[in-house]
Amino acid sequence: MAGHSGLGYYLRRVLRVSLETGTMAHLLHRVTGLLIVVYLFLHIGAMSYTYFDAGSGFDDLMATFASTPFLIVDLVLFAGVMIHGLNGLRIMLFDMGYFSRRQKELFWVMMAIAATSVLIATWLVGAAHGWW
C-alpha cells in the first residue's frame, strides 16, 4: 500500500507518536546534528569572507561576533554540541554492550551533564562580557 513506508511516512509517524525517551533522544540527535552542520557551513563562509576581504574586515567581524545576540547563538550551539556529543557517547556505550536496560536513565544523566555545562558556560561568558 502506497504511503505506508518511506520518509514522509516516517516523519508523519515520528511526529505523531508519543515521545518516549528513546525517540526523543533520536530526534534531538538529528536536530542537533543538523544544527552543527549548518553552523559549520556558516563558519566556513564567515572565515572565507575574511580571507577574501583582508584588512579591517576581520576585526569588525570579530567584534560583531562578540556582541550579545551572537554570544547567545554561540551558547545554543554549545548546547547542541554537548547534547549531540553526550548522546553519541551514550550510543557508543550501548554499542559496547552496556546500559541498554538503563537507556532512559542514561539519557537523562547525559542531558543533566549537558545542562550543567551549558549553565557553567553561560556563567563564564556572562562574566567575561559583563552581563553580571
Binding site: G6, Y9, R13, G22, A25, F94, G97, Q103
Partner: protein
C-alpha cells in the same frame, strides 16, 4: 461539578468527558480492499470500560455494534501474538492492555504501522516473516547429538532466556522508524531471533550467524531509538539483543575470529 475535580483531571478531554460522563470513544481504522474505498476512521462510543481490555472492547464492538470489524485474536493471554495493534500511536497487545490504563477518552486504533494493510486492523505479515526466515531462525547442530540431552549450564541458558521468550507479535519491528524507511533492514524481531541462537551454545553456526547480521542491513542499521524495547509486550530488551550482537561481532573481529 468542576469544583470536585482534582488538578490531574483538569486535562481538557478529561474534564469534558472522563470526569463528567464515563465514556471512551474508540476511533478505529477501517479498510476493506474488496470495496475499493479509501481507508477511513470510524468511531464507536463505549460507556463502561472498567476492567475491559482493548481486545474486550473490540470484541464488544464486533458483537454488539458493528459485526464487520475485523481484527486478529486468539489466546487473549499475551502469548500467541495475534492481537498486536497500534493504539494511540503505541504498539501493544490488545489483549493485555486495560482500556482505562491508557487514561484517554479518545483511543485511536490502527493496524501495525510499516506493514501492508489487509483489512481493518489486520496487516499482511509476510514481509515480517520473510525477515524472520532470512536469519535462519532455527538451531543448527550438525554434530551427532548425545544419547541423552545436551548439557548446558544455567548461565548459558540464562543468556538467551529473554530472547527465547519472543512471541513474534511484530510490535517491535513495526514500531521501528528505520523499518518504516528501509524495507531491507532485518528489524528488531529477526535480530533478536538471531541473538537467541548466537547466545545458545548448542548452536554450531555462530560465525555464520554473526556474518549474516554484520552488514548495513543488519545490526549496523539500528539507530538505538529503543522504540522496539519500549513496545515489547513481553518486556524483552530487543534493542539490547542487537547491541549484544554488535558487541559479539566487535569482539570476534578484534580477536580475529571473523
Amino acid at each position: 461539578m468542576i469544583t470536585a475535580l482534582t488538578l490531574q483531571e483538569l486535562d481538557v478531554e478529561n474534564v469534558v468527558l472522563r470526569g463528567v460522563i464515563d465514556l471512551v470513544v474508540f476511533r478505529i481504522f477501517r479498510f476493506d480492499p474488496a470495496r475499493n474505498d479509501a481507508p477511513t476512521f470510524q468511531t464507536y462510543d463505549l460507556p463502561d470500560t472498567a476492567g475491559m481490555t482493548i481486545l474486550d472492547a473490540l470484541i464488544h464492538i464486533k458483537e454488539n455494534m458493528d459485526s464487520t470489524l475485523s481484527f486478529r485474536r486468539s489466546c487473549r493471554s499475551a502469548i500467541c501474538g495475534s492481537c498486536a495493534i497500534c493504539a494511540n500511536g503505541k504498539n501493544l497487545l490488545a489483549c493485555n492492555t486495560q482500556v482505562n490504563d491508557l487514561k484517554k477518552v479518545r483511543i485511536t486504533l490502527e493496524p501495525l504501522p510499516g506493514f501492508p494493510m489487509m483489512r481493518d486492523l489486520v496487516v499482511d505479515w509476510e514481509p515480517f516473516f520473510d525477515q524472520y526466515r532470512s536469519v535462519k531462525p532455527y538451531m543448527v547442530a550438525r554434530s551427532t547429538p548425545p544419547e541423552k540431552e545436551r548439557i548446558q549450564d544455567q548461565k548459558t541458558r540464562k543468556a538467551y532466556d529473554e530472547a527465547a521468550q519472543c512471541i513474534m507479535c511484530s510490535a517491535c519491528t513495526s514500531s521501528c522508524p528505520v523499518v518504516w524507511t528501509d524495507g531491507n533492514y532485518l528489524g528488531p524481531a529477526a535480530l533478536t531471533k538471531a541473538w537467541r541462537f548466537v547466545a545458545d551454545d548448542r548452536d554450531e553456526i555462530t560465525r555464520e550467524r554473526l556474518a549474516m547480521v554484520n552488514n548495513e542491513e543488519g545490526v549496523w542499521r539500528c539507530h538505538t531509538i529503543f522504540r522496539c524495547t519500549d513496545s515489547c509486550p513481553k518486556k524483552i530488551d530487543t534493542a539490547g539483543s542487537i547491541e549484544s550482537l554488535r558487541k559479539k561481532i566487535i569482539w570476534h573481529q578484534l580477536t580475529g575470529r571473523i
